[in-house]
């Protein structure tokens, strides 16, 4: 635990450094940049989810007046590489899949890019797409990963001989023997649907060739380090590609994979003109990765006093058309499948497979929400079978400090899940309504818990660097390659600098996400920026303080260890009246030839790639624990339901920015609340039927109550000031809480295990219940 410290800025609802610009609409996003002479680019996507590409004739398209380039795979210097996600080393072991820039050989899904066009206007570019003649040999395809894994199944790729991406398992104890000692065993199948990120800003950006021959991009992306892949594809040194990142209108994992960067670079090189590409909503939804659909089988055994003895779990994941982050996501699903419970006997097996669906990759929660859904459904059902209160059953099995995960790893951070669950239970019971509303709708309530890691897989050897420079007027510039998705990732770094150096937020200027000018912070993914870059920032400020304190000590005549930073001064701790202005100390340091600039690096714990046939030990730095409480009203004549209360609780360790922390908890809660029931992409044989917001139902403000947040601060995190990450954990336990609340209302489990759980299915369950 951290020592108590009097913090002035950290923990408060400090306005973010970019809040005013966003509120006034002055923030420029990817599509807001233009340049003289700029061309517009479009991608030709495959007309079929499964086919063999026989040929592409671009002659007519090239001849269209106003068209400046039409590129196919033959025009790409290196068309095939491995997928990288900013990691500082090649991990190997099957974790990096194929990145194919433009289609060649087998077409694996409708999202496959066949050709690129750059033209004077968007209209001409669209017209040119229609003139490209593609010779397809349409093939049957396979759209269900369970079928894809059967012998003799259609093989999705031309590069592999089978559809299997990865197979892995975690085990502990003796599962067979343990089931014999169980009084009740619940066994069932669960299914989760693909899930769309639904960011308001679609993928896009622009770029140009600068005066030094550097391909310069302005693309909003969660992984600035994709510049290395772009350079490799172009056959250029890493130094010749630069991404000046742009603040994003949402990412949620969907902009972790490379998007427009390579396409822009190829077209810029081909035309030597600035080029812009922005995907339409339909293109975005049909093309970018989705949360992995999972097919899960859970067998859970417990004794009659409610002690869970054994869990046997098998998971089949739909990886879609390309590998991308599937193996990494699979690690999270496999490792998180038993939930935050002490289960002595565990066997989790998972396998992922290619299909001709849109590829699956990162989506906020990263393999966590799927297994959490199944696990928390199981918990309610075990409780019901045993006649034990559903919250009480959880209480009897939850992990506490010192307990081991099924891999044998003992989390180092505080395990506060039972404490937050108690708080949610008390809050949910405060407003107990009658079982029915006056309009006849039936009330249901439920609580679900979850655990979700923050920080990347430790075998990726993750690191982050942050630089600070103190100006002669006492203001500070922070340079950090932190992609800002809107979660306040950059602002929190400014807040730490201001806190540590005794300054105000206004004194700290953030210059972020420019691969030529900012130290690389690594990805804004894996709920890692506060943990990684926050710690790097603390390190950098500590270095600067070490330089400033001796100067102040000399000037004030007191030893350094008795001095502290605050109110733009360095002062004597036990007599703050004795002080010297910060700017004066900076002036002296500069005069004495001291360094006013520094860079610091923070490294996460490093481990080696695990044995996939028996994963043991540490996989991530630490975990964050959440609990959600939900109250619903179900219309038993239509199967429609309304969420009346949403309670979102977390042990955040320490809130750095109260607004941002609460904002993440609210946003995460709404992000997955409708995933099980409303957010259905309606995939049909590789076609995305619901490809815009009129048919893919994300909730509107009218559909959701205010989210009530409960934030516990145990101080037990590995981030700065004892903070834990909350970005992804915030969406983890909400989906099962919603479905379990519907179950509580309607009194039957029928149709509630396989998403999408539509009103029609809920109505059918109610009718079946009534006809019994």
């Amino acid at each position: 635990m951290m020592q108590k410290r009097n913090l002035k800025l950290v923990g408060n609802a400090v306005p973010r450094h970019d809040a005013a610009a966003k509120a006034k609409g002055e923030q420029l996003y990817s599509d807001d940049w233009t340049m003289p002479n700029m061309l517009y680019a479009k991608v030709l996507r495959s007309a079929y989810p499964a086919a063999i590409l026989r040929g592409v004739n671009t002659k007519k398209a090239k001849a269209l007046p106003g068209v400046h380039a039409v590129l196919t795979a033959d025009d790409v210097p290196l068309n095939e590489d491995i997928t990288k996600f900013g990691q500082m080393r090649d991990v190997g072991g099957g974790f990096e899949g194929l990145y194919k820039v433009l289609a060649r050989g087998k077409i694996r899904s409708k999202s496959e890019a066949i050709a690129l066009v750059a033209a004077e206007t968007e209209e001409i570019a669209e017209e040119a797409l229609k003139l490209i003649e593609v010779d397809y040999e349409v093939t049957e395809g396979v759209f269900d990963p369970r079928e894809a894994l059967l012998p003799g199944a259609y093989v999705v790729s031309s590069e592999d001989s089978s559809n299997e991406i990865m197979r892995t398992q975690v085990q502990c104890g003796d599962i067979e023997e343990a089931f014999k000692r169980c009084d009740v065993i619940i066994e069932d199948d669960y299914q989760t649907t693909p899930h769309e990120h639904a960011y308001i800003e679609t993928e896009g950006g622009m770029g140009w060739l600068d005066e030094n021959g550097v391909i310069t991009l302005r693309v909003g992306v969660q992984v600035l380090e994709h510049y290395r892949t772009v350079a490799k594809i172009m056959g250029l040194p890493h130094t010749k590609v630069r991404n000046i990142g742009v603040p994003m209108g949402g990412g949620f994992g969907g902009k972790e994979d490379i998007t427009v960067e390579t396409y822009l670079a190829l077209l810029i090189a081909a035309t030597r003109r600035p080029v812009k590409m922005v995907w339409t909503r339909e293109e975005s939804m049909e093309t970018h990765a989705k949360r992995h659909p999972e097919y899960l089988h859970y067998k859970t055994g417990a004794t009659k006093d409610g002690k869970i003895l054994a869990q046997e779990i098998s998971i089949v994941m739909d990886g879609g058309s390309y590998t991308y982050l599937t193996p990494w996501v699979q690690m999270y699903s496999t490792y998180g499948a038993v939930g935050p419970y002490n289960v002595p006997n565990v066997h989790v097996q998972s396998v992922s497979a290619f299909t001709n669906n849109t590829f699956s990759s990162a989506n906020r929660g990263f393999g966590g929400p799927q297994v959490n859904f199944a696990c928390e459904r199981q918990m309610d059902r075990i409780a019901d079978a045993l006649g034990i209160d559903r919250v009480e059953l959880r209480r009897r099995n939850l992990m506490h400090n010192g307990d081991r995960l099924p891999t044998g790893f003992i989390p180092q951070g505080h395990i506060g899940v039972s404490e937050i669950m108690d708080k949610v239970e008390a809050e949910l019971n405060k407003t107990k309504k009658p079982d029915r509303l006056p309009d006849g709708r039936k009330i249901g309530r439920a609580i679900a818990v979850g655990h979700m890691v923050y920080g990347r897989l430790t075998f990726m050897h993750d690191s982050s660097r942050v630089s600070i420079r103190i100006e002669l007027d006492g203001s500070v510039t922070v340079r950090a390659g932190v992609p800002d998705l809107g979660g306040g990732q950059a602002s929190v770094i400014c807040q730490i600098v201001a806190e540590e150096l005794g300054l105000d937020m206004e004194d700290v200027h953030a210059y972020i996400m420019d691969t030529h000018l900012t130290p690389l912070c690594g990805t804004t993914t894996a709920t890692r920026q506060l943990y990684m870059s926050g710690n790097a920032t603390l390190k950098a400020t500590a270095i600067m303080k070490e330089r400033l304190l001796p100067v102040a000590s000399k000037l004030l005549g007191y030893p350094s260890e008795n001095l502290a930073f605050g109110d733009h001064s360095i002062y004597l701790v036990n007599n703050p009246a004795i002080r010297i202005p910060f700017v004066t100390v900076v002036g002296h340091l500069s005069n004495d030839g001291g360094e006013l600039e520094t860079i610091a690096q923070f490294n996460a714990p490093f481990t080696e790639v695990p044995d996939l046939s028996d994963i043991k030990g540490q996989l991530n730095p630490d975990l964050t624990y959440t609990c959600h409480g939900v109250e619903v009203a179900v219309d038993e004549e239509t199967g429609m339901y309304e969420i009346l209360r949403l309670i979102a609780a977390v042990d955040a360790g320490k809130m750095i920015n109260k607004n941002s922390c609460e904002g993440q908890m609210e946003g995460g809660c709404l992000y997955n609340a409708w995933w099980p029931t409303h957010e259905d992409l309606q995939w049909r044989n590789g076609i995305t039927k619901a490809n815009n917001f009129s048919t893919y139902y994300i909730p509107t403000a009218a559909d959701m109550p205010d989210v009530e947040t409960i934030i516990m601060e145990s101080g037990g995190g590995l981030g700065p000031y004892g903070a834990k990450g909350v970005g992804e954990p915030s969406d983890n336990s909400i989906a099962p809480a919603v479905v379990n609340a519907i179950r509580d209302a309607i009194g039957t489990d029928m149709n509630l295990n396989k998403m999408p759980i539509t009103p029609e299915k809920i109505l059918a369950a109610i009718k079946a219940r009534d006809s019994k």
Partner: protein, 282 residues
């Protein structure tokens, strides 16, 4: 996005002249026209904007009729005291229509002319015996709304014609209800409107039921109306209308719901629409 010709008409005559014999399309609110352009349904034509024509934007009251100009927006319907008092079903339809930004620009004439089976104003107007007044450069005609729709996206309107206004009868006991996947910005799965009159004995003496999104066009539900006539609108009656309602509808499976689900919930929506219409009697 395609490039389109655009002309702003300021009078009905100017609009009709621009429409006559030309490859032109009317645009008022633009909430359907712009998606049509994006999807390629409209190509290479001239858009004639009619939203600035003052003579198309009014809500008027006669002794037993209300007249609504074609360019009255959904927001105007929502705010109108006349509509609230004398056409409650239409008020309720306006309240659940799309979202505030769409309501501020979408027009009642456009909602009808687009002829979506799920057009939210249509069932409400049908139970108020709406008559659609149509003009071309050289002629005028009026068509009952029940004969106005031909098929999804198709009406009796010719390319050179314009809806000028809609006339409806006052009826204080009407109601509208919508079933959609969201409370806002949701295209209907089923809509139901009703207009009901009871005699002194509490028996239904006249009754009109209209339904949306369960047939190729918004429809009047003749079997349901006949079933209800001369009955008391009690729970027994309302629970027994399933059979009649299912004779009225011909729903399909679409991206929003299956035909089976629509068959399950349409009678429920009819029941609720009747209860809404009779709310003050309860």
């Amino acid at each position: 996005m395609k490039e389109f010709g655009y002309k702003n008409a300021t009078t009905i005559t100017e609009a009709l002249t621009l429409l006559d014999g030309q490859n032109a399309r009317v645009v008022a609110g633009g909430t359907n026209v712009l998606p049509y352009i994006r999807s390629g349904k409209y190509t290479d034509c001239r858009l004639i904007n009619i939203r600035d024509i003052k003579d198309l934007n009014f809500i008027k009251e006669d002794s037993d009729r209300i007249t609504i100009g074609a360019c009255v927006t959904i927001s105007q319907l929502k705010k109108s005291k006349l509509i609230l008092e004398f056409v409650p079903a239409l008020h309720q339809a306006a309240c659940v229509f799309a979202d505030p930004t769409i309501c501020n620009t979408a027009t009642v004439g456009g909602n009808l002319a687009s002829a979506s089976p799920a057009a939210d104003t249509a069932p409400a107007l049908l139970v108020h015996d709406a008559i659609v007044f149509i003009k071309s450069l050289n002629s005028s005609r009026s068509v009952p709304l029940s004969e106005f729709f031909k098929a999804p996206g198709t009406t009796v309107l010719q390319r050179n014609e314009l809806i000028t206004h809609i006339e409806i009868s006052k009826q204080k006991n009407s109601g509208f209800i919508k079933l959609g996947m969201r409370k806002s910005m949701s295209i209907s799965i089923v809509t139901a409107a009703s207009s009901v009159t009871l005699n002194d004995a509490g028996i239904i003496s006249s009754c009109k039921i209209a339904l949306g999104a369960v047939a190729p066009t918004p429809i009047r539900a003749a079997h349901t109306e006949r079933f209800l006539l001369s009955k008391k609108p009690d729970d027994d009656t309302l629970s027994a209308l399933i059979k009649a309602t299912n004779l009225d509808i011909s729903p399909i499976d679409d991206i929003r719901a299956s035909a089976d689900y629509r068959r399950e919930v349409t009678p429920v929506m009819v029941k609720r629409a009747i209860k809404l219409a009779l709310y003050e009697h309860c």
